[in-house]
């Protein structure tokens, strides 16, 4: 195959996931969701998968897992009732389709709820609240705060790193376990019911150099997203990290 073609992958937006595809097939075939003709639906499902591959669409792993599940159910349906394997739940003779049906029915309800929610959003987008503008004077803070620039931040970060290296137990023993997005969530979680924290507090529990770095990157990202502000009372003083509300 032409290599240009091979690189050209489109994500199929029509079906977000395998459950969507199944619901679509059930609707298209006009079958009862509580009594899915598993062989017919499995065949159709596989046909769609090969079609997606033919069109060189990226088929997410979840679609393949579902294909395996369908095959498994199909093969179990072929067994006579007295040879059915009872699973861990111990319900003897339980319909092998049940777990999938339960999942489909639940998902469909949420999908319907989402549809209605979308309508609410549409309706709501026509209503505007009163916009109370900035009155031009904020209630005076106790101390004047200055916005902190990137160099102040890097300086403070450098100090944290230095302090960190002084600590005895500061060795890299663990593999990297932190991602920036995890740290972002952690910082926001720490600030869930308070407005501010001091810069050094962010790194108080950092267990490795890598974690310090990732935490710092997360902080920069949050500042970029305007979720946090950094301010200083005096030059080279402690930096305050404030939530933007």
């Amino acid at each position: 195959m032409d290599s240009v073609e091979a690189d050209y992958k489109v994500k199929l937006e029509v079906f977000e996931g395998p459950l969507d595809l199944l619901l679509y097939l059930i609707k298209k075939e006009e079958v009862d969701i509580y009594d899915i003709p598993i062989e017919r639906i499995t065949n159709q499902y596989m046909e769609y998968l090969s079609l997606m591959k033919l069109l060189n669409l990226e088929v997410a792993g979840e679609f393949l897992v579902m294909a395996a599940t369908l095959m498994y159910i199909k093969s179990r349906m072929l067994l006579p009732a007295d040879q059915q394997v009872t699973d861990a739940e111990g319900e003897e003779g339980e319909d092998p389709r049940w777990e999938l049906i339960r999942q489909l029915v639940e998902y469909k309800k949420f999908k319907d709820a989402a549809l209605q929610l979308g309508r609410r959003e549409e309706e709501q987008s026509h209503l505007f609240p009163r916009q109370v503008g900035d009155l031009g004077f904020e209630s005076q803070p106790d101390q004047p705060l200055a916005e902190v620039g990137i160099f102040d931040l890097i300086n403070a970060f450098n100090q944290v790193l230095k302090k960190a290296s002084e600590r005895e137990d500061f060795r890299e023993i663990f593999e990297e376990r932190f991602t920036v997005s995890d740290k972002i969530e952690e910082i926001l979680y720490t600030l869930r019911d308070r407005l501010e924290m001091v810069f050094s507090e962010l790194f108080a529990n950092a267990g490795s150099r890598a974690e310090v770095v990732v935490t710092f990157l997360a902080l920069l990202e949050l500042i970029r997203l305007k979720r946090l502000r950094v301010q200083q009372v005096e030059a080279f003083g402690e930096i305050n990290v404030t939530k933007v509300v």
């Binding site: 309800k109 949420f110 929610l117 609410r120 549409e122 209503l127 926001l188 997203l225 979720r227």
Partner: protein, 217 residues
């Protein structure tokens, strides 16, 4: 001119940046001070929430019957002045860029699940949707429609998510019971939990071997 409770509440709603709840309104009225003319506000000190509710209803009806361009709306646990939908074309022009785009289908599905099953972990949301939800969760967090509400005791202590006040405002919901299919989908979760609790009895040994993976024909 004598001030009436209705006018005080109207003034509060007019100047508020967020929906005001009965409780907030009551508190504000009870705690307001006026150094120059203390007598003028004393009379309202002991106002009760029930009285406020009646007045809010009056104001709402008044705006409706006077055909004002704005209305009093019950939203996100409080009351708020909002324009009527008919005036959207002009207001959209006025406020254009401040208005966020509409959410995608995956985002709406994820929000429905988080709203009705909160607090819930990422893995549980993915379990219901049958697809990964990491990207969607991140963008919903960024838009402040969901938030982290804690950590689960399950292995790995996954973060748990819930919806925000902003979520209710965005969709014009009074509260979470106002969600589409709220009763049905919540009741279902409760039923599942009881079923799980019952199913925790030890598994008997005579189950036989785990089934071998069948070959597709």
């Amino acid at each position: 001119m004598t001030i009436e409770l209705k006018q005080i509440i109207e003034a509060l709603l007019f100047s508020a940046e967020r929906p005001l709840s009965l409780k907030e309104i009551r508190q504000i009225i009870a705690e307001a001070t006026d150094e120059e003319n203390p007598g003028s506000i004393e009379g309202f000190r002991n106002v009760r929430e029930a009285q406020i509710a009646v007045v809010l209803e009056e104001i709402k009806v008044e705006f409706d019957t006077q055909l004002r361009s704005f209305q009093l709306v019950e939203i996100a646990g409080g009351w708020r002045l909002m324009s009527r939908p008919e005036y959207a074309p002009w207001l959209k022009k006025l406020l254009d860029e401040a208005r966020p785009h509409r959410l995608s289908q995956p985002a709406l599905e994820t929000l429905s699940i988080v709203a009705l099953r909160q607090p819930i972990s990422r893995a549980d949301v993915a379990g219901i949707r049958g697809v990964e939800v990491d990207g969607v969760i991140r963008s919903l967090l960024e838009r402040d429609l969901i938030t982290i509400t804690g950590r689960s005791d399950a292995p790995g202590k996954p973060l748990l998510y819930g919806t925000t006040q902003r979520f209710l405002e965005h969709f014009g919901l009074r509260n979470l019971d106002d969600m589409p299919k709220a009763t049905e989908l919540r009741a279902q979760a409760a039923a599942l939990k009881t079923a799980e609790a019952k199913a925790t009895t030890p598994v008997s040994e005579n189950e036989g071997q785990a089934p071998t993976t069948p070959q597709p024909n």
